[in-house]
């Protein structure tokens, strides 16, 4: 289970730009709630916090590469409790 789960996560992150970046550009994707905000004039209210890697990008890097790096950073942080615990990932007690 553990190795299979980690491989699945790896594959998901690696293929994610096909959906989240390239596919989004093809259809001209915008977050629906952001479109709603623009329609009613809320667009001028800046986000209180933009994030360290805003919108899954790494400043200065192409979007596809930034998306993958952002994915690995997010996954790495979420796996941190398991890594710190030093147990085999995904092993059930």
């Amino acid at each position: 289970m553990s190795r299979k789960a980690l491989i699945l996560i790896l594959v998901l992150v690696l293929v994610s730009p096909l959906f989240g970046v390239i596919g989004s550009e093809i259809v001209g994707y915008h977050e629906p709630l952001d479109v709603a905000a623009e329609l009613i004039g809320l667009s001028e209210s800046e986000p209180v916090w933009q994030g360290v890697l805003p919108d899954y990008t790494v400043p200065g890097l192409p979007d596809v590469i930034g998306y993958v790096i952002a994915g690995f950073v997010g996954v790495g942080i979420l796996l941190l409790p398991a890594i710190l615990r030093g147990k085999e990932l995904g092993e059930r007690s």
Partner: protein
């Protein structure tokens, strides 16, 4: 379904932060006090959900959909574990990527880590009890589908009731509910196939 900053008024925002934190703390107590509470497994599920949510399925017309997977998480690690995994995921998405406003984090977690998880799981268990384990995939489909539809309905209620948002509940609720119930069919199908696959191959990975 991630609400950005500027949509919710301070009272709604703060109230949902408080409610969410109470439920998350209670969930942590329940999950880790149980026999199957396991931080490593919880981490892997949270990371897998994070990775799965990065796959936006583009839909012609300028929109997209992605899995939320709150109900699915509950089917794998129980409702309390599912709540924690979704909450961890939403905190990372918000703080790291700015996905969902920081002032709306309580509301977003209420919708996706509480409503989707607990309602989706309750429907799954009810249908499982009514139809039997042979119909597990139908139960998982209904849990995944209705869970996301209801989470979106609550999201519509929150932004519709907020005086900062320009549209009333009569518009926001039908729009959010109908849109996510339509797209939520995909969520239900993915949930059903993952649960169906695990029931055959590794039933010990399913909760309860």
């Amino acid at each position: 379904m991630h609400i950005p900053d500027g949509f919710l008024d301070p009272i709604t925002s703060l109230s949902l932060y408080v409610i969410t934190l109470i439920v998350v703390i209670y969930s942590a107590k329940r999950y880790f006090s149980g026999d199957k509470g396991d931080i490593s497994y919880l981490s892997v599920i949270a990371a897998a959900i994070f990775a799965a949510q990065m796959l936006n399925w583009p839909i012609p017309g300028g929109t997209s959909a992605h899995l939320v997977a709150g109900a699915l998480a509950a089917m794998l690690i129980g409702p309390f574990g599912g709540c924690l995994a979704m909450f961890m995921n939403l905190v990372v998405q918000c703080l790291l990527m700015g996905d969902g406003g920081i002032t709306a984090l309580g509301a977003n977690a209420f919708n996706m880590a509480i409503v989707d998880v607990f309602v989706g799981y309750a429907i799954y268990k009810l249908v499982l009890k009514a139809l039997g384990k042979q119909r597990r995939m139908i139960a998982a489909f209904l849990g995944g589908w209705i869970g996301i539809g209801l989470a979106a309905t609550v999201c519509g209620l929150e932004i519709g009731l907020s005086p900062l948002f320009g549209y009333p509940v009569a518009i926001t609720v039908p729009v959010m509910a109908s849109w996510h119930l339509a797209l939520g069919v995909i969520e239900g199908i993915v949930t059903a196939f993952v649960v169906g696959y695990l029931a055959k191959r590794s039933p010990n990975l399913l909760w309860g």
